[in-house]
């Protein structure tokens, strides 16, 4: 008993550097910021006014724009979870096969994440442009004349999806790499044994790959949720939340308030947003843990 307790204490040394650094440089500033969410403060003044939960109340009951932005982010996230991760998995599996040029493909698929957001924004705006865009050029070329002059980013129906497509294109490389790394940790013997038993590739995928990859899927899923719910840079460079506010997401709203002297209020928004993300992610972790058992 005593020995076990001592053991447990010594083992803490493994996490000590992480916990120490993290507490000072991440946790403490976050706690300080959360504290600000109970104050009305413009970010500059030397005095601030304690308002308790007033700002939370206002966000929850009187800020529909914020909740709409949440729905927008959820939409992008849903698309990313299905299409982006589907693509990442498909490509990881394809590249894991013995095919010609797999090395080149592996390098190329990680180019979008490496690429500067400036270049990505410029290129895709050019693709989507109503008058001179490649996309409309192509669509008109195949006979869909309906799309001449259609500004993909400025139409309510398409703007959010158009941004989501770019987001997914820029992001699938991350999932691709993690899944690729995950595939390597599956012991080869499992596949060989399955082959001896006469399992075809679909059965191997279903009974070996998927079960062994559940923890990795969880990591990728959570990363996707985080990355997509917090989508900002790309969106900001492509639509600035427009047209008429239809592509706003929580982070753009938070910045909007912060930039207009509502520092305290914007932190309250961050806290609410963060707590929701936390809840979603922990449900995700818990579900996959159950599945794994």
């Amino acid at each position: 008993m005593n020995k076990a307790a001592k053991e447990k204490t010594i083992n803490l040394l493994f996490i000590l550097p992480a916990v120490a650094l993290f507490s000072i440089f991440s946790l403490y500033p976050i706690i300080r910021t959360v504290q600000l969410s109970f104050y009305k403060w413009d970010g500059i003044a030397t005095t601030m006014q304690f308002v308790g939960l007033l700002q939370y109340k206002d966000i929850i009951f009187h800020n529909p724009a914020f909740w709409k932005s949440m729905a927008n982010a959820a939409y992008v996230t849903t698309l990313a979870l299905t299409f982006q991760n589907g693509l990442a998995l498909l490509l990881a599996l394809l590249v894991s096969r013995e095919i010609r040029g797999e090395n080149i493909y592996r390098t190329i698929f990680f180019l979008p994440p490496v690429l500067s957001g400036i270049v990505v924004g410029l290129i895709w705006k050019w693709i989507y442009d109503g008058n001179y865009g490649i996309l409309n050029h192509f669509l008109t070329g195949v006979g869909l004349s309906h799309f001449t002059n259609f500004a993909w980013l400025a139409e309510i129906k398409t703007s959010l999806t158009a941004v989501a497509v770019v987001h997914m294109w820029k992001g699938f490389g991350y999932g691709f790499i993690i899944l690729l790394a995950g595939l390597q940790t599956i012991p080869k013997e499992l596949y060989e044994a399955a082959k001896v038993d006469g399992a075809d590739s679909w059965q191997q995928f279903k009974h070996i790959t998927v079960p062994s990859m559940i923890p990795v899927f969880t990591v990728v899923a959570i990363l996707t949720i985080l990355g997509s719910m917090q989508i900002f840079d790309l969106l900001y460079s492509m639509t600035q939340g427009g047209p008429a506010g239809h592509t706003h997401v929580p982070i753009t709203r938070i910045y909007q308030f912060m930039g207009n002297g509502e520092f305290g209020y914007s932190t309250a928004m961050s806290v609410i947003f963060g707590c929701l993300l936390l809840a979603v992610s922990f449900i995700q972790i818990e579900v996959s843990r159950r599945m794994n058992k």
């Binding site: 993290f22 910021t33 290129i123 961050s270």
Partner: protein, 279 residues
């Protein structure tokens, strides 16, 4: 037999078509960036040609000088190298602890760490700034690196823990019986086995630290300590963006990250050669 071969060929062709289409979409922007870096500003705007009329290689020299890359490049290398090393070492240590060892308050610590990964607070740089000032770390390389390491820990631990948990326990247990210390097992057995995950972590952190600029610009006062991103800003004026030089600068700034990726992806893929997923 013939049918099977035909089917196999069709699958192969289809595979390549999918891969090539996606690959083209990934390569084109790089090609465009490179091609634009050799054009003139006027040419970029008034002509739509894919290749430059004249290959102005001098743009690279001008961009390098104008952006003061000579000054900033080394800084960026230091921050990225130290930051990535710190993240990988400290988070792998902790992730191993969380995955394998019994300890007090394990779950609390773990969930606390992960929570901060999930709470994005755009205004957090203000308290961080004041904290660094109090600690005398403002305007220091150390302060910035510690922030980078701390910022990468949550994700690193989260990613690595799931990989460590996935590793077969038997080898580690055998080593323990042979008298290896816990740290020895971690260092000599768990780490090498988790190599694909470590390589992934290196790539991701390289990318994020190399491209980071908000913290660097806020925390550092002395321009001599600033990273390469500071140099790139010279081309993006409030009113005028110098696209050819910006593209040249971006091309230069992209190369190191690409090199890291090329070096690391070999480790991600080790062992695949024997064909783990033969169809």
């Amino acid at each position: 037999m013939n049918d099977a071969r035909l089917k196999n060929n069709l699958v192969n062709i289809l595979t390549h078509v999918i891969l090539i289409v996606i690959a083209l979409s990934c390569v084109f922007p790089v090609f465009w960036m490179f091609s634009s870096s050799l054009k003139t500003q006027e040419e970029i705007f008034t002509k739509m040609n894919l290749l430059p009329e004249h290959w102005n290689w001098a743009n690279y020299a001008i961009a390098w000088m104008k952006a003061d890359f000579g000054k900033y490049f080394l800084n960026s290398l230091i921050y990225t190298f130290a930051g990535v090393f710190g993240v990988v070492f400290i988070s792998s240590l902790a992730a191993y602890g969380f995955a394998r060892l019994e300890m007090w308050g394990k779950n609390i610590f773990f969930y606390l760490l992960i929570s901060t990964l999930l709470i994005p607070i755009p205004g957090v740089f203000v308290p961080l700034y004041l904290l660094l000032k109090k600690m005398g770390l403002l305007d220091t390389r150390t302060g910035l690196i510690l922030c980078y390491i701390s910022g990468g820990l949550a994700f690193g631990i989260f990613l690595l823990r799931s990989f460590f948990e996935d590793l077969p326990k038997e080898i580690e247990e055998a080593a323990r019986i042979d008298g290896a210390s816990k740290f020895g097992v971690y260092w000599r057995i768990a780490l090498p086995l988790a190599r694909p995950a470590l390589a992934t972590l290196v790539i991701f952190n390289c990318l994020s630290i190399w491209n980071e600029f908000l913290l660097a610009l806020v925390i550092l006062q002395d321009t001599a300590k600033m990273p390469i991103q500071r140099g790139l800003m010279v081309f993006q004026g409030t009113h005028i963006t110098d696209y050819p030089l910006l593209m040249a600068g971006l091309t230069i700034a992209t190369i190191p990250v690409l090199i890291v990726y090329l070096l690391m992806q070999k480790h991600i893929i080790k062992g695949i050669a024997s064909g783990a997923l033969k169809g």
